[in-house]
């Protein structure tokens, strides 16, 4: 029932011991994410409290929860943008505290607004993203990536002129051009129309086919979240398996199917 597996961990209840003794979760090749007693606080505000989590490679995790519950914080921690306050974790087998660089090479993060520069064109944004990721692509590969998200006609327009949906598509294109082991999607459906959402679902399907692990934090249900092997609720800084009462209380409407009908 619970998605927590504690094989091979010699962890006492004092999780900071785990950190000191470098007792990390087993770097089991089958796991994409493993967190043990993972906590994150900002000042005295404890956003994530002692989270234990395991996500198997190639599977999808749907993360739900009320606003401000910490879903974005958790995703950012997994992307190594935030350092854990307590506890231990590995992503793709690499330690979160010490091997952040290796993690960033394998992980892609899509935020709600996306890291996109208004005064650069769609293609330039893509080029920036690729180069910063250490990739060297041919110009037509950029074009192809933009065509994949339906932006080939506006490839040379500045992002400032784009709608929210178009902006989001640039972000998706940035994600797509990198070889990833783990894709972190924060509210991927937000701001997208039916076609856009279908695009997200397509991408997630492709990720699953190529064995990329996917974690989606989303209010909205969609094909991708429904296909998830694991669905967890993040509430009061703690993770728990979802039950339907909980879903109703956190205003999650699995009834809004219209949005993602393909």
């Amino acid at each position: 029932m619970s998605s927590i597996r504690l094989n091979n961990w010699h962890v006492g209840w004092n999780s900071s011991r785990a950190q000191e003794a470098a007792i990390t979760p087993t770097s089991d090749p089958g796991s994409a994410v493993e967190l043990v007693g993972f906590s994150k606080r900002f000042g005295w505000n404890r956003v994530l409290r002692g989270i234990d989590l395991r996500v198997d490679r190639g599977t999808t995790l749907a993360l739900v929860g009320p606003n401000g519950a910490g879903k974005t914080t958790l995703l950012k921690c997994l992307a190594t943008l935030l350092q854990p306050s307590d506890g231990a974790g590995t992503v793709c087998g690499f330690d979160l505290r010490k091997e952040g660089d290796a993690i960033r090479e394998r992980v892609g993060l899509v935020t709600v607004r996306g890291y996109v520069y208004d005064d650069l064109t769609a293609e330039e944004n893509l080029r920036f993203s690729a180069r910063m990721s250490g990739l060297k692509l041919e110009p037509d590969e950029y074009r192809a990536a933009l065509a994949r998200v339906g932006l080939e006609r506006v490839a040379d327009q500045r992002v400032r002129t784009f709608s929210t949906g178009m902006r989001k598509r640039v972000v998706l294109a940035q994600l797509r051009i990198r070889p990833l082991e783990l894709a972190l999607l924060d509210e991927p459906y937000a701001g997208l129309d039916t076609q856009g959402m279908a695009l997200v679902d397509e991408f997630v399907r492709e990720f699953r086919e190529t064995g990329t692990t996917v974690i989606i934090a989303s209010h909205q249900a969609g094909e991708a979240t429904r296909a998830a092997e694991q669905t967890l609720i993040l509430k009061n800084g703690k993770l728990s398996p979802m039950d339907h009462d909980e879903a109703a209380r956190s205003h999650l409407s699995f009834d809004s199917l219209g949005a993602s009908e393909v």
């Binding site: 900002f42 000042g43 005295w44 505000n45």
Partner: protein
């Protein structure tokens, strides 16, 4: 806990006693310098204050490095305390230096290397304390402060050397030979007295910082 505050009290009394003794000797017992007259007696406070200003800053530097390595807030508390005490002594040094300068050189301020460096060090101290006021998160606060403390301190010797090249007005450091033994011993005594004062103030301030930290933590959980 009572034994610690008991120890602090003892040191406090010792500090007071040494200070009074040193001041008494400096003011009334030791003969005044032949050339400068009584105004020279200011040196018995000015020099120890300057010594403490720099010692405090060195402690800030050391604690900052320790904090960044170990991430233990205890080091940060010591750094903060030392910075606050150091500011007081820095201002004292500048004020006394200025007071001494007026009758001696005829001006309230000169750009001599030590005074200038001390003034710049004051600015760096103020920056250190100012940046602390912008973070509510104690770890963030400690981290920023540590960075500023380290770079700030690294700057001090460079500033000093630059200003020396730029100006050379300050009295060359009194070497033991050119100063009468009585003046030297009184100076040493006062130096020791001030160091004890520093230790006492530090003990009190660090304890206060610890309590402040606990209060902060409690308010955050209940607020």
């Amino acid at each position: 806990m009572t034994s610690k505050s008991g120890l602090a009290n003892v040191i406090g009394i010792a500090a007071l006693a040494l200070f009074l003794a040193g001041s008494f000797v400096g003011l009334f017992v030791v003969p005044a310098d032949g050339m400068q007259g009584d105004i020279q007696r200011l040196m018995y406070v000015h020099v120890p204050a300057a010594w403490l200003a720099f010692l405090s800053f060195f402690v800030v530097f050391l604690m900052s490095v320790l904090y960044l390595i170990q991430r233990d807030l205890r080091w940060d508390r010591v750094a903060q305390s030392s910075a606050e005490i150091g500011v007081v002594f820095t201002v004292l040094t500048l004020a006394l230096g200025s007071m001494w300068g007026k009758p001696t050189w005829g001006v309230w301020w000169t750009w001599d290397p030590r005074l200038t460096t001390t003034a710049i060090m004051l600015a760096i101290y103020v920056g250190y304390l100012a940046i602390r006021s912008f973070a509510d998160d104690p770890d963030k606060r400690a981290r920023w402060a540590a960075i500023v403390g380290i770079i700030g301190f690294a700057n001090v010797p460079i500033v000093y050397l630059s200003v020396i090249w730029w100006r050379t007005l300050h009295q060359p450091p009194s070497s033991p030979r050119s100063v009468s033994p009585e003046i030297l011993w009184t100076l040493m005594f006062n130096l020791a007295a001030f160091t004890v004062i520093y230790v006492y103030l530090m003990m009190r301030r660090i304890r206060l910082a610890k309590l402040e930290g606990e209060l902060e933590q409690r308010m955050a959980y209940h607020g």
